[in-house]
Symmetry: C2
Subunit: 488 residues, 2 copies
C-alpha cells in the first residue's frame, strides 16, 4: 500500500484529498462535481444515518419520500428561496433521447420537450409544502413531523469531496405546526439533537448558535446552526435547523382551522445534515498517517491480524476473540488474507482509521499475550490475552473520550478574544480559529468585515454573554461577542 | 374515517388505488408520474430495505453510492442498453435559471447549457462500469460485490403508484468477477436471496426461473426472475438478477490481469428490487376492508386500544403490556387519542393492515380478559389477560404462516396446465393466473402469442420438467412447459 500522503503542515487541503483517496472514502466521477462514495465512506455515512434516524424517531418523527423533481414554477413562489437556489440547479428540459440521424450516437429528441421544466431538488421545501396543502385542513392534522433521507443537487462551481459536491446525500426534516412557539421549539429540539450527535458520536465539539440575517437559509426567519472547528483553524457549518415562520405556508397557501374554528397559516421548521459531516469527521480527527475514526462511528472498530499469517491455531483463537467481542457489541474483522504481510496490513488499517488493532502472533499464543495498538495515540502494549475482551471494550470508550477531549482542547487553543480590528485581523489572518469579537449588529459591518478579511459571523452563540463593548469594525456600541471565523 | 373502498370484485384496479390512498401509503404529486411515499408506505419499504440489506451484507456485499447523473454518451456504449433505456429518460440540459426579463418568474438561462447532456439514471450499469475501470487492474481486485440504495427515473407514460412510477426507489447490485462461472453463481445466489425474502418476509410465494431472450434486461445474457401471482390473476415480476457476461466490461474497457498474467475482460452481474414490492405486497394479501400486512414487515405489529377511552387504569395495563411485548421484539403502539371512538379506531387499523388489535376495556380489566382480533381472518376472541403476551407472539407467527399458505393456495388454484391454443386462450382470457404450456422456444411464437392474447412468458421455471410435447401456438416440438401469464 502506497502510504505517502501529504502532511497537514505542508498542505492541509492536499492532505484532505489524499486521505479521501488513500483511505478509500470517495472517488471522482465522470460527472463534474459528483463524487462516488466508496464502501468505507458510505459505511461511515450509514452509521451516521442510523444514529440520527434513531434520534429522529425517538423524538416522534417519521420518514417519508417526496419527488426528486420540482416544477420550475414552485421555486418562484417563495421570493428569497428562488434567489437562493435558482442560480445553481440541474434543469430537466426533455424526456427522451433518439438515435442521431447521422448514426453518431444518441441525441436529445427535440419533440420530447417538457411543457414545464423540472428542477432536480436542491432542497424540498417547495414540493413538500405543496403536498402539505392537501394533508392539512384542521389543527387535528398537526403537527406533521416528517423527515426524508434523499439526494439533492446544487450546481456548485468549486467542489471538494464530501464538503461541497454537486450531488450530496442528506436528510431534510420538514415539520408543520399550529403555533409559532411550537415551530420554534421544534427547530430548537433538532438543533440540540444535532449538537448531541456531533459531540457524542462524532466526538466533534460544536458551538450552538443562531445565524445572522445574511447567513440564514433562503426563506427562514431564524437559522440555528452547529459550528465545528477543523484542525486548520477553519470553521465548518455542520448542521442547520430553520424556523420558517409562515413563509412557505403563505407561498403555497397552506391554512388550517384552529381549535376556535379560525383559519390560520401553518407554522414550519426545516432542518438538515448531509454527507458533509463525513468531511467534518475527517478534518476533526485524522492525522498524517491517515484517517482516524471515533469508535462509535467506525464501521470496523477492531481488526485482528494473525502474525505472521493466518495459521490454523492462530485463526482458532482469533475467531474465538471475534465471537467474544461481538457478544459485547463490538464490530470486529479478522484479516484472513494470506498473501499480504502484517506490516502492510498495519499500514492499511492505520490509513483506514480502524480504532483498535489486535496483533495475534505465534509467540503471543505461547506466552498468553496479545498486542493491542490504538489508532488515535498510536500507543502499543502487550497484554494478557485473558483480559483482552474487557480491555478492548474499555479502550473503545477511552478512544472516543480522548478524541473528543483532544478536539475540545484544540478549540480552546484556537479560540481568541479580540478587542480591536487590528487584533481581529491578526487573529483571523495568522492564527485562525474562532475569533470572539464585539459586533454592532449591522449587516453593513458584517459584510465589510467579510470583504476585508474573508471572516464571517459563524453564529451568535446560544451562550451569548451580555457584555458592554464596541464593534471591532465600526466602534459602535455592542452588547456582546459573536463568533467569527473563516469557514469551509 | 371514510371507509368506502371499491371492492375487488367490482374493480380490482380501482380497489388498488383506493387502498393506496385510504391506507395512507402514497399520494400523487405535482410532478407527472412521481408519487409521494407517505409515512406508512415508507415504513414498509424501510423494513424491506433493512431485511434485504442484512441479507446482502451476510453474503459479503457492501454498499456504495454512485452519481445520479449519467453522461449521455455513456448510454450509447452498450448497444442493447441504450435501446432499452434511451426512450424514457429525464434529460438535464442546463444548470441555471434566471429571472425572466419580463418579470414573470424564472426561466432557463440559455447561457447555462451543458456541453454534454446528463441523463438521470434509469439504472447505473454504465456509470458504475466506467468507475470500475479505475478500480480493477488485477484478479486481486476481484470480486467486487457492491450494492447501492438509490432513486432512479424512467419516463413511463402510464403510471400507477408503486407498480410503475417515473421515479422509484430501489437497490441495484453490481458485481465484478474473474470468471464466467463466478458471475453466474453470484446472479443465482441473489436470485435465491430474493425468492427467500419474498416467501419468508412478504409471505408471497414466487416462481423462480429465467427470462426468455425477449424479456431479458437490456444488456444481459441471462435474466433470472421471481414471478409472483396477484389476487386478480395477473403476474408481477418482483425481482430480477442478471448475468451480464462481459458486455459492460467490453463497453467500458474493463480488463484485469488474471493469475496467469493474461489480460481478460471482467465478468458481471447486476440485480435489483424496487418499491414495486410494496405494490406486490398490497395485491397479494389485502382485502375489501383495506391493507393486510404480514407481521414480519408490518411497521406496527400490534395496536392496543383502550376502551372506551384512555382511562388511567387502562393505560397503566396497556403500558405494561406494551413493555412486555416489546421485550419479545414486538412492535407495539398504544392509541392514546381520547377524541376518537374505538369503532373509528378499529376501522382505521383495519385499513392500515395492523396484524393484531388488542382491545382493552374497563370490563375486561375487571374480568381479567382482553380481546384479541387478527386482521387476516378478522377472527376475534376474548382471552385470559395473563396469557396474552405469549399468545400474541405466537399469533404473529400464525398470521405470517396463514398469509403465505393462503397465497400459495391461490397460486395452486390459479395455475392451469393447457395443451391446445384454445385451452390456452380460454385460460388466459377467462380464468387468469399462471398458464403452463408447451412452447417451441422461438421468439416468433412467443411474440405472436403476446400479440394475440397479451400473455407473456413470465419465465422458464427453474424446476422445468423435461416432457415431450408440442407448442400450443405452432405445433412444433417442445421439451417442456413454460409459465405464461398476463402481467403488471
Amino acid at each position: 500500500m502506497a502510504k505517502e500522503i501529504t502532511s497537514r503542515e505542508e498542505n492541509y487541503s492536499q492532505w484532505y484529498l489524499d486521505i479521501v483517496k488513500k483511505a478509500g472514502l470517495a472517488d471522482n466521477s465522470a460527472v463534474r462535481g459528483c463524487m462516488v462514495i466508496k464502501p468505507l465512506g458510505y459505511a461511515i455515512w450509514e452509521n451516521m444515518r442510523d444514529q440520527l434516524d434513531k434520534r429522529f424517531k425517538e423524538t416522534g418523527h417519521v420518514n417519508a419520500y417526496f419527488p426528486l423533481f420540482i416544477p420550475k414554477s414552485f421555486l418562484s413562489k417563495e421570493a428569497d428561496h428562488v434567489e437562493g437556489f435558482a442560480k445553481e440547479c440541474a434543469v430537466v428540459t426533455h424526456h427522451r433521447l433518439m438515435n442521431n440521424p447521422d448514426g453518431s450516437g444518441v441525441v436529445v429528441d427535440p419533440s420530447a420537450k417538457l411543457e414545464e421544466e423540472l428542477i432536480v431538488r436542491p432542497t424540498s421545501e417547495t414540493i413538500i409544502w405543496n403536498t402539505y396543502k392537501d394533508w392539512i385542513q384542521s389543527y387535528r392534522d398537526l403537527p406533521l413531523l416528517i423527515n426524508q433521507w434523499a439526494n439533492v443537487v446544487r450546481w456548485e462551481l468549486r467542489t471538494r469531496p464530501f464538503l461541497r459536491t454537486a450531488e450530496f446525500l442528506w436528510q431534510e426534516g420538514h415539520t408543520a405546526h399550529a403555533t409559532r412557539d411550537e415551530a420554534i421549539e421544534e427547530s430548537k429540539l433538532i438543533h440540540e439533537v444535532y449538537a448531541r450527535f456531533a459531540e457524542d458520536f462524532m466526538a466533534m465539539p460544536v458551538i450552538k448558535g443562531s445565524k445572522t440575517a445574511n447567513e440564514r437559509f433562503a426563506g427562514a426567519e431564524e437559522t440555528y446552526t452547529i459550528e465545528a472547528l477543523m484542525q486548520d483553524g477553519k470553521a465548518l457549518q455542520a448542521g442547520t435547523s430553520h424556523f420558517l415562520a409562515q413563509n412557505f405556508a403563505r407561498a403555497f397557501d397552506v391554512k388550517f382551522m384552529d381549535e376556535n374554528n379560525k383559519e390560520q397559516y401553518v407554522w414550519a421548521s426545516s432542518w438538515g445534515v448531509s454527507t458533509r459531516l463525513v468531511g467534518a469527521l475527517i478534518m476533526t480527527h485524522s492525522d498524517d498517517e491517515g484517517l482516524v475514526l471515533p469508535p462509535k462511528l467506525a464501521p470496523t472498530q477492531v481488526v485482528i491480524i494473525p502474525i505472521p499469517k493466518p495459521l490454523p491455531e492462530i485463526m482458532e483463537k482469533a475467531e474465538q476473540l471475534k465471537k467474544e467481542l461481538e457478544a459485547q457489541g463490538v464490530r470486529v474483522k479478522i484479516d484472513k488474507d494470506a498473501k499480504k504481510r502484517p506490516g502492510f496490513k498495519f499500514a492499511q488499517y492505520e490509513m483506514e482509521g480502524v480504532p483498535i488493532r489486535l496483533g495475534l502472533g505465534k509467540r503471543d499464543l505461547e506466552n498468553g499475550t496479545i498486542e493491542v495498538a490504538r489508532r488515535d495515540t498510536k500507543a502499543k502494549e502487550s497484554i494478557d490475552i485473558a483480559g483482552v475482551v474487557p480491555h478492548t471494550v474499555q479502550l473503545l470508550v477511552d478512544i472516543q473520550d480522548n478524541l473528543l477531549a483532544k478536539a475540545k482542547q484544540h478549540r480552546v487553543d484556537y479560540t481568541t478574544e479580540v478587542n480591536t480590528y487590528d487584533e481581529f485581523k491578526d487573529a483571523i489572518e495568522n492564527k485562525g480559529g474562532f475569533v470572539m469579537a464585539h459586533w454592532d449588529g449591522t449587516s453593513e459591518s458584517e459584510l465589510k468585515i467579510k470583504e476585508e478579511t474573508k471572516a464571517t459571523i459563524r453564529c451568535i452563540p446560544d451562550d451569548f454573554v451580555e457584555e458592554e463593548g464596541v464593534c471591532v469594525y465600526s466602534g459602535k456600541p455592542s452588547k456582546g461577542r459573536v463568533v467569527f471565523a473563516k469557514a469551509y
